[in-house]
Symmetry: C2
Subunit: 140 residues, 2 copies
């Protein structure tokens, strides 16, 4: 994938920081946080600032090149998978995997209340195999 081009196509400047962050995010499927990305890129990019990671992620999200996930963990995760999909979160280890998104209808209230419906986000929860084994009794 030509990340510099993808950036310019949306009218964004293709700075090395943006390209690196976008490539790193797109290259992993573990839904990293800003800090995760920062730590992963520090070696290759010693002058990279954490605040640049934050502002870049905000920019990427606004440009539709990344999605932000707020799962109630105190920090946000990011996802370069921009195709429609749902998430499956482990209640034990908090791992997040992308899963298929079944078609969702807007709620009847949307029309009744006069909302312009936009989209729906779906987050499934469960216990992953490893956590099932680790602690069979764990509601969390």
């Amino acid at each position: 994938m030509d990340w510099p081009q993808a950036l310019r196509d949306r009218g964004l400047r293709a700075t090395p920081q943006r390209v690196t962050i976008l490539a790193e995010l797109a290259g992993r499927d573990d839904h990293p946080t800003a800090e995760d990305l920062y730590r992963a890129l520090r070696d290759r990019h010693p002058t990279l600032a954490l605040s640049t990671v934050y502002s870049t992620l905000e920019t990427l999200e606004a440009a539709g090149l990344a999605h932000r996930l707020s799962l109630g963990e105190g920090r946000d995760r990011y996802d370069a998978n921009v195709r429609a999909h749902a998430h499956l979160v482990c209640l034990g280890c908090r791992r997040v995997v992308d899963v298929a998104l079944a078609p969702v209808a807007p709620p009847p209230e949307a029309e009744r209340l006069g909302y312009a419906y936009a989209f729906t986000s779906v987050v499934h929860h469960g216990l992953c195999p490893a956590c099932r084994r680790a602690g069979p009794t764990r509601p969390d």
Copy 2:
């Protein structure tokens, strides 16, 4: 509703703080944050501490008397409506309303990957009537 009893039924001490917080939360449908509740109760309950609101909300959630909503606003909201329902969030003003929850199936990946499926949360997004009028062009 007998809040002290509801608390004791779950094995919790019915302190005045808990009763007041639970009653306030149950009496509103705007999905307040911890700070919102704290500010609303301050007058009636001058010695109430914000940290008590936080710990009480955590306790109520663990007891199944409240739900926590993480909508990516930087702070969490709470909801005493414990019946299964979805949420509809306005992209403009961030207002949150409860809406009907259509039946959701666990994603096929849950079984395929060996997850013990638990539950799914559904958040719809749209523009409320007021925000549609205010700014017709506003992706957010």
